[in-house]
């Protein structure tokens, strides 16, 4: 009896998954628990394991396909077993799916490095001019790309460069020593989400400097009396941001069509850098949690993120994000909002420098630059500035958090 392998639901809000690299091919023997294929949702990368023992009889979803949750991905059964792929899946659904696939097929073929139909002369011309054939619609027989198409594309690209216009296809020069690597599923998701954010949310970034002497003292104190855990500045900032958001709830919000949703819960996302990518696991109800709880949450989430073990639910539901690049000696930057959140806090390094204190004396203090990017559709500068000022106040004098 064949077993249908379906797209799992990896989180409450997951609706579909993107098929990545197949680890097994049709005809391969598989054991229960063997990884069949990599998948990516808009939040995370994961894998689908075989639920049965036998032979991979059919791959239904190709690399690059988006499959809805519970959609058929593959079939595992006994060797030589005759399978009827339609079984168990309503006919209409299959039709719709395959129709969608057919419609997408040419695009996928081109972008996934499949065969591009171009004349030998067109290929040579493109290589010489550094024109990417995959972006060209051919005018030859059956859509074949001919030299004329490459030349006009080359001219368009040239014109675009000279006009400084980005909307024409970008020409990627490829030299002989260059390494060409296909985009990973995660890079594609990051690319899509970052582009979408920059395109749909008008970003404003405001910056300020905070004297963090007292926060440093607080952290040292907490770490000296707690041997079982080490508090990081990120942990403290999670707590401070959450407390500030509780006081300025309009910055803890999302835009949804014609409405602004002001979230009751305050869930702080923490950006975690991976070898080739970025994940933002979420510390839930950070305003109600003590620092210890926050610290153990972030520690666990970061470890899981680096081991690619996060579940979908740990990646969703954020209402605000903190991205800390202080460890890389960055002072300030312009973070991109993690939609549908309203704002993101960029944290710079702590640097000791001379400042003028309230007594007009030049003293040495530990300073940190904060960068807050916010969605101008939801908030205006004054409101965002209030939030940033409050966080700055907490950093300069953590006792204010009790107010």
């Amino acid at each position: 009896m064949a077993t249908e392998i379906k797209m799992p639901q990896l989180g409450l809000t997951m609706t579909e998954g993107l098929i990545g690299k197949w680890k097994k091919q049709v005809g391969d023997t598989v054991k229960k628990g063997d990884v069949l294929v990599e998948i990516t949702t808009d939040k995370l990368s994961s894998e689908i394991e075989s639920e049965a023992e036998g032979v991979l009889l059919a791959i239904i979803a190709k690399e690059g396909d988006e499959v809805p949750v519970q959609g058929l991905v593959a079939v595992v059964g006994e060797a030589n077993e005759k399978i009827n792929i339609a079984s168990g899946v309503p006919q209409a659904e299959i039709k719709a799916e395959s129709a969608a696939r057919e419609e997408k097929a040419p695009v996928i073929e081109k972008t996934m490095g499949g065969r591009i139909i171009a004349s030998p002369l067109a290929k040579k011309t493109a290589a010489k001019m550094g024109v990417d054939l995959s972006g060209i619609t051919g005018s030859g027989p059956n859509g074949r790309i001919i030299q004329k198409d490459v030349l006009s594309q080359g001219q368009k690209a040239k014109a675009a460069v000279s006009r400084g216009i980005e909307d024409a296809a970008v020409v990627v020069p490829a030299g002989s020593g260059d390494i060409i690597k296909p985009l990973s599923s995660m890079r594609k998701v990051i690319g899509r989400r970052m582009t979408e954010s920059k395109h749909s949310a008008p970003h404003v970034t405001i910056t300020t400097e905070a004297n963090v002497d007292k926060t440093i003292a607080l952290r040292n104190k907490l770490n000296s009396i707690n041997s079982d855990m080490r508090f990081t500045y990120t942990d403290i900032l999670v707590k401070m941001a959450a407390t500030a958001l509780r006081n300025i709830p309009r910055m803890n919000s999302s835009i949804d069509g014609d409405n602004i949703i002001i979230h009751d819960r305050i869930n702080i996302g923490v950006a975690v850098a991976l070898e080739d990518g970025l994940l933002v696991p979420v510390v839930r109800d950070a305003d109600r949690k003590g620092l210890k709880a926050i610290c153990s949450d972030t520690k666990e989430l970061i470890e899981k993120a680096r081991g690619n073990k996060l579940t979908g639910d740990e990646l969703i539901g954020g209402t605000f994000t903190i991205s800390n690049l202080g460890g890389y000696d960055i002072d300030a930057f312009t973070p991109i909002i993690n939609l549908p959140e309203c704002a993101i806090l960029g944290v710079g390094r702590i640097v000791r420098k001379p400042i003028v204190n309230e007594n007009d004396e030049i003293v040495v203090a530990s300073m940190m630059t904060l960068s807050l990017s916010f969605d101008h559709r939801i908030a205006d500068g004054a409101l965002a500035a209030q939030l940033l000022k409050l966080i700055k106040n907490y950093l300069e004098d953590p006792d204010q958090m009790y107010l």
Binding site: S119, L121, A122, K124
Partner: protein
């Protein structure tokens, strides 16, 4: 799309018209074909096919004459009446074959001469004088061409023949003057000179076969000379005089001197003109330039629903162009999108050895100011060619930067068949790399095509690369 149930009227049943008719029928049109004479037109009846049938006799005759070289000793005698009989048999078989194809495709064939009455109606005059008026949704004009009779003094002399006459001679003349060194003149010169006739070609231009690559043309010219064909270029016929058994042809030579040649037959092969007089194009409002119907690359005339293809457009005048255009016109007439592309059109001359060409000649590449490279391979270095006792040369003209194939010129045995590979390469925008990467069978003449491509980069295997 607008398919089927349309009445398509094809005027003329030559290689353009019958192909258009069959294609239109395949696409669901109701097709009527009007032919004034025999199906197959000039090509099948008085052109391509009969010429090649007689040339094949000439080829066998020549091989037989030189049979001793191959170890076959025979007492060779030409039976020209038999050759003509075979030519007629071949022609008849092909004509009835086309008639069968038209019948299978349910094309209604009407015998008669068509004239436009308006832009949607024609009148057909049958041979017996009866007339019939027919309306149609679409017209495809494919009335072809006829030989030009230049206004020369004495052109009506009984010794003067056109290509049709030359193909129907009952015996081989002893002497013949060919006026016009184009494809027709050179092929008939090849035919009769091989069969023992003394042939003199008079060409007004500076070279015979002016559309072919000059370098190879000079080789074929010397081969003709070796067969005893005298060629005078830059020479102008001033008059023909009927002197009973012979005619005297007066010629002003390139150096200004006058010469007179006596001959049994004078072939007038100075060109062909469109055969559109009977059509009354003006009544349908079809724009034409002295009978040459003006068309675009979809084969549309200025009148919606009326198409013209082949020789009657006055361009190309080759059977395979007419056929290709016929398919284009049929497809467009039934709502499909199709355009005619001349780039891959091969030109073939049935000399001995054969001469075929596709794309740009070296002269054209120069004239267009292109940066090009040339690759050449002599067929004397090709095994199969040597076996067949033939020689010649293959010449590639390729773009300097990308090595794309701009033109290929072949002089040698079966050149007319070999050229197809090169036409395909041009159609595909191929470069020499694709020709080189393709394995060519051994031992064939096609190996030399690859060698010529290799020689562009000076890496031919079977000859020293200079």
């Amino acid at each position: 799309m607008d398919i089927g149930n349309k009445k398509i009227m094809v005027i003329g049943g030559g290689p353009g018209g019958y192909v258009a008719a069959i294609r239109a029928a395949q696409l669901g049109g109701e097709v009527i074909l009007i032919e004034k004479d025999r199906i197959g037109g000039t090509c099948l009846n008085v052109g391509c096919i009969p010429t090649k049938a007689l040339l094949h006799t000439a080829e066998i005759y020549e091989e037989a004459v030189h049979g001793a070289d191959y170890g076959v000793i025979a007492n060779v005698r030409l039976d020209f009446a038999k050759a003509q009989e075979r030519k007629t048999a071949v022609t008849n078989q092909l004509v009835s074959g086309v008639e069968g194809l038209l019948a299978v495709n349910k094309v209604k064939v009407i015998s008669g001469v068509a004239s436009f009455i308006s832009n949607d109606t024609i009148e057909v005059k049958a041979a017996n004088g009866g007339t019939e008026t027919i309306k149609a949704d679409r017209f495809i004009i494919a009335t072809g061409s006829v030989p030009v009779k230049p206004p020369l003094p004495g052109i009506e002399s009984k010794q003067c023949i056109d290509s049709t006459g030359a193909l129907n001679l009952q015996e081989v003349p002893k002497t013949m003057v060919v006026i016009g060194g184009g494809v027709i003149g050179v092929e008939i010169a090849t035919l009769y000179s091989t069969l023992g006739c003394k042939v003199i070609i008079i060409e007004m231009q500076n070279e015979i076969l002016p559309m072919m690559d000059g370098e190879l043309t000079r080789i074929i010219r010397s081969k003709l000379a070796l067969k005893g064909v005298d060629i005078y270029t830059g020479a102008k016929v001033t008059g023909i005089k009927d002197e009973g058994a012979e005619a005297k042809v007066a010629v002003q030579m390139s150096d200004g001197r006058s010469s007179v040649f006596s001959c049994e037959k004078v072939l007038i092969s100075v060109g062909r003109k469109t055969n559109t007089d009977a059509l009354a194009l003006d009544r349908a409002g079809i724009i034409n330039d002295r009978g040459r119907i003006t068309v675009n690359d979809k084969m549309e005339t200025n009148v919606k629903g009326i198409y013209a293809i082949g020789d009657c457009t006055g361009k190309g005048m080759l059977a395979h162009i007419a056929s290709a255009q016929g398919e284009v016109a049929a497809e467009n007439s039934l709502g499909h999108e199709s355009v005619f592309d001349i780039r891959t059109n091969p030109s073939c001359v049935y000399t001995n050895p054969e001469f075929a060409s596709v794309g740009l000649t070296e002269e054209m590449a120069k004239e267009q100011g292109l940066d090009y490279l040339v690759g050449k391979f002599p067929l004397s270095a090709n095994g199969r060619s040597l076996i067949m006792g033939g020689d010649g040369i293959i010449k590639f003209i390729v773009g300097k930067e990308y090595k794309e194939i701009l033109g290929v010129h072949i002089l040698g045995p079966r050149a007319t068949d070999l050229i197809a590979e090169c036409a395909l390469a041009i159609q595909m925008e191929g470069t020499i790399d694709e020709i080189i990467a393709t394995i060519h069978a051994h031992p064939t003449i096609s190996e030399a095509v690859r060698e010529a491509a290799l020689s562009v980069e000076k890496r031919a295997i079977h000859m020293p690369n200079k």
